[in-house]
């Protein structure tokens, strides 16, 4: 057991903290609304190598671990950066694993933005694809075939975006929009897609963890400054105890995310340790996603509440976090469905 980050990991964390602090200021986040996409930030993020870092080296990546990706995603979430990081990484890693080298072209440098559809096609389209308004490539699974649709490059957004709670570049993607490439079918498609969705859950968990951390900072600094009845409101026990709960759950959420990343990096069926009771990588990704979603929203909601009337004004930043805390996890649908799926993973039939 070692819960410390290595020197290299600390360096990744520090570098991306600095990058997003500088490039994803709250002014830039606000300026990118309502679409929720900043083309310049996207180009710069690609310039850091972050999009392709998780691909194997022979696919043109750095072979970075899931833990490295999680560290980047946390920093991305801290600044609620207006770029689709979890989607692009999950889709790119899937293409690399599927050996679709042709489709990987132009992704690393940001010219082609890939994403993943989190629900199967219905009615001739993919509904509310994350980053669907700005992506040139989407990977989707219809239950049998895993395929990609590629649009020609052009002005982003490619389609009119659907205004939404989280100011995310969501859009429907008609199945006849773009050139279709078959990636896999049958059990291999199931596995590739499940792994990619697990990657998305893990990176979204990390992003929500970062979002949560900043929402908490906003709340704590507000309660330390705002006075009522002659004292700072942070001296009230009703406020302190709720903040303490958020800290503790948040610490647990971060550990869970790191453990889930570690499990995906080290998972080999033959090294599984059934006696320890440690859940497997798929269960941990699901747990990290659900628990971080829960903690992030609870934290943003409580910290908005502590802002009093200012919390509902658009001028205060807490609302930016509050809206995304609820909206980001909803890309996967009702979280309660995910709890159902997790139950089967966490309590396997004997």
């Amino acid at each position: 057991m070692d819960l410390s980050l290595s020197e290299d990991q600390l360096a990744v964390q520090a570098a991306f903290a600095e990058f997003f602090d500088k490039e994803a200021t709250v002014e830039r986040v606000r300026a990118a609304e309502p679409l929720g996409f900043d083309p310049d930030l996207w180009a710069r993020l690609a310039g850091t190598g972050a999009i392709a870092m998780g691909w194997p080296e022979d696919a043109g990546g750095d072979g970075a671990s899931h833990l490295d990706l999680v560290l980047v995603a946390e920093q991305y979430g801290r600044r609620i950066a207006p770029v689709p990081f979890p989607e692009s990484v999950a889709a790119g890693c899937l293409l690399a694993r599927a050996g679709a080298t042709g489709l990987l072209e132009n992704i690393a440098d940001g010219r082609t933005l890939p994403t993943i559809a989190l629900s199967p096609p219905a009615g001739g389209k993919l509904r509310l694809v994350p980053a669907g308004a700005v992506a040139e490539l989407v990977v989707a699974f219809d239950g049998e075939n895993l395929f990609a649709l590629r649009r020609p490059p052009g002005q982003r957004p490619h389609v009119p975006p659907s205004p939404n709670l989280g100011s995310s570049p969501l859009a429907d993607w008609p199945l006849d929009d773009g050139e279709r490439t078959e990636l896999a079918s049958g059990p291999r498609a199931v596995q590739l897609y499940a792994d990619a969705v697990a990657d998305w859950k893990l990176l979204t968990a990390a992003a929500l963890g970062g979002l949560r951390a900043t929402a908490l900072e906003l709340g704590v600094s507000y309660v330390k400054a705002r006075k009522a009845f002659g004292v700072i409101i942070g001296s009230f026990q009703a406020v302190q105890h709720r903040l303490a709960d958020l800290v503790v759950a948040g610490d647990g959420a971060q550990l869970l995310t790191y453990e889930a990343a570690w499990a995906r990096d080290t998972a080999h069926p033959d090294t599984a340790q059934p006696d320890t009771g440690q859940p497997d990588a798929a269960a941990l990704a699901s747990m990290a996603f659900l628990f971080n979603a829960d903690c992030a929203f609870r934290t943003a909601r409580e910290c908005l509440q502590f802002h009093g009337g200012y919390g509902v004004t658009l001028e205060y930043d807490i609302q930016l976090y509050f809206r995304r805390a609820k909206a980001w996890p909803l890309a996967l649908g009702d979280p309660r469905r995910e709890y159902q799926r997790l139950a089967d993973l966490a309590y396997p039939e004997e």
């Binding site: 057991m1 819960l3 610490d251 647990g252 709890y339 159902q340 309590y347």
Partner: protein, 392 residues
Amino acid sequence: MDFKDVDKLAEYRQQAREWVERHVEEDWAEQQRVSGSYHTPELHALLAEQGWLGAGWPAEYGGTDNDPDLAAALFEEIDTAGLHLDGWITTTMICRTILHAGTEEQKRAIVGGALRGKVLIVLGYTEPDSGSDVAAAKTRAERDGQEWLINGQKMFTSTAHMATHVFMLTRSNTEVPKHKGLTTFLVPLDGPGVEIRAIHTLGGQRTNGTFYSDVRVPDSARIGPVDGGWGVMHVALVFERSGASGRRSGPTLAERVAHWARQARRDDGTRVYDDPTVKERLARIAIEAEVSRLLGMRTAWVAASGALPGTEGSAAKLFSAESAQRQHWDLLDILGAEAVLRREAGDAPLDAAVDEAFRRGVVGTIYGGSTEIMREIVAERVLGLPRVRARS
């Protein structure tokens, strides 16, 4: 980062199991359950006689050559067999405190006696009017020449009716702020003026109220400096919160309920497990159990790297105690109408394991620092928010 929870005691498990099979009598666990006294004198004497209590302790104070890892595996195996070692747990906490704060003479006599199984120490902090505010203790200690006269009352002095000594926090000085007028003593429980009355709990435990009238002890019974009891308590409380091992022994309660839910059917013939609300509750329990395990792991990791796990320990205690209770409430609900059956009913689901966990779990958010105190520690020390509790 490495989250692998390696079982350091793996190679000792088999031997420990064999020891338990050979020496632990089958009815001891049931005796503890029925009596609510979580100490079995025969077992304690056996552990002492064979040198297991002294394993890993300094030889000059009675430590033995027994392998400390095997001893640790043995204690865990005893726990798995359903036997509590509460008397030994409080005794080791105070022995560690004495090694830290006691005189040479005390280390030899008390620690030595404890490792031989002759001294059994219980905790005397809480009083009728003070629990979390432990420094508000009113039990008086007054100097009388080379002796001290002790008068007052302690609450929840568990195992006192089977112990030889109580480690007691007393008020030795009423002229100074409350933290500065405390002195700790190790008071024999067999002397005149000590009265022990049983108190029974919701969780089936027998604890005690203990009364002290003109109890006379020599100055050599004092642990640490006069009026320096708060410093001694700091050491003792750290030993109280440095946690137990999270090793898993057999299926968890939630896994047992999940297994039950896969077989059991509701009145309408549907399988309990197929109810989405049941699955959701089980999934939430699995997540929180993992978070509790990780927060505990972090505390152990901080402790292993040589630091005192202050706020980490508080965070783990706060989350896991409350989470365990939520789990018990949900698991009872899932079991439905039969959940209320006690073991004596004969046909309780899972032999009333959930009912018993529910009852026992109630105290988890109260003892060892209530969750309200844990929240204040986190708010003050992690977030830097102002202290709410009045200073004396």
